[in-house]
């Protein structure tokens, strides 16, 4: 995928190894957690920060992700699936979304 949609596959792949930052959360102490994703479950991301391993829930949070030279902003609700299911479900979401041509 080129141009505008480059990196759109982010919601259809696992996030282990990606650099993420929590930018919005109902829990204020979670905002600003930044680091590399070392593990992922259906509902949580395990982020290795400078202060150690942090477990952050996906639902209700917004993440900033560095991916393919771009900084993406993504709501955790969109990735609230098991990593192995995300390829199927993420692609389905992209296909159903209006204005996205993949």
């Amino acid at each position: 995928m080129r141009g505008r949609l480059q990196g759109v596959e982010l919601i259809a792949r696992d996030w282990i190894g990606l650099m993420v930052e929590v930018v919005e959360s109902p829990n204020h102490s979670e905002v600003g957690i930044k680091g590399e994703v070392v593990d992922e479950t259906q509902n949580t991301l395990k982020i290795m920060t400078e202060k150690g391993l942090k477990v952050v829930a996906k639902r209700g949070r917004t993440f900033r992700v560095w991916y393919k030279g771009k900084i993406m902003r993504i709501k955790g609700d969109l990735i609230n699936f098991r990593p192995e299911d995300r390829i199927k479900r993420g692609l389905m979401m992209l296909k159903r979304a209006k204005g996205v041509w993949i």
Partner: protein
């Protein structure tokens, strides 16, 4: 707040809108209007739409019901004899197709017919609120005499129970979907290009 117009004005006065979307049948506006008399005609015309633009549909009840199930359709445009039943509105909420509520049809009609339009609007808004259907409030002006200010449009539909902040959000989303480079889908957008070499 965006206004959706059906004509291309030469000089537009400041009416309080952020910007305008020109829904035209000729392919020069930022939106395309498709008129169809039957679902078959609609499908045929939709296949011909190649350009990235907001696609609006004008048609009768069967056409509207077919239109909400088409991925290429973004908005069901408003006109005097539009009929949307309960099932179509529910389906529009599921399929993320916006419903246009326009002011100009009330300006063009009078008397008994206008009263019926008020009644239909009230019922549509009730179902829209129930299923959280995407909707936009516009003037849908076909000439300069049907143009109204943003405040007039919003106050009119607010009186009938429409949630105006939501209508603004849906209109903005509709425009960003095609004309914002950084917007991908709801809750997913590009902030900027990264300077660091992080993968």
């Amino acid at each position: 707040m965006y206004d959706f117009l059906r004509f291309f004005p030469e000089n537009l006065p400041d009416l309080g809108f952020k910007s305008y979307v020109f829904m035209l049948e000729k392919p020069k506006g930022c939106g395309i209007v498709i008129r169809a008399n039957s679902p078959e005609e609609l499908r045929k015309k939709l296949r011909g739409v190649k350009r990235r633009a907001i696609v609006g549909i004008i048609g009768k009840e069967a056409v509207c019901r077919e239109a909400v199930m088409r991925r290429r359709v973004d908005v069901i445009l408003d006109w005097e004899d539009r009929e949307l039943d309960y099932a179509t509105l529910k389906l529009a909420a599921e399929k993320d197709v916006a419903i246009e509520l326009s002011l100009s049809k009330f300006l063009r009609t009078e008397g008994y017919k206008r009263m019926h339009l008020f009644e239909r609007l009230r019922q549509e808004i009730m179902v829209i609120r129930k299923f959280d259907v995407p909707f936009i409030v516009t003037t849908a002006a076909e000439n300069q005499y049907e143009l109204r200010t943003r405040k007039q449009v919003e106050t009119f539909f607010k009186f009938f129970g429409a949630e105006i902040p939501k209508a603004r959000l849906y209109a903005q989303r509709l425009v960003r979907r095609y004309f914002d480079e950084n917007y991908i889908m709801d809750g997913f957008e590009v902030e900027q290009l990264s300077n660091s070499g992080v993968v």
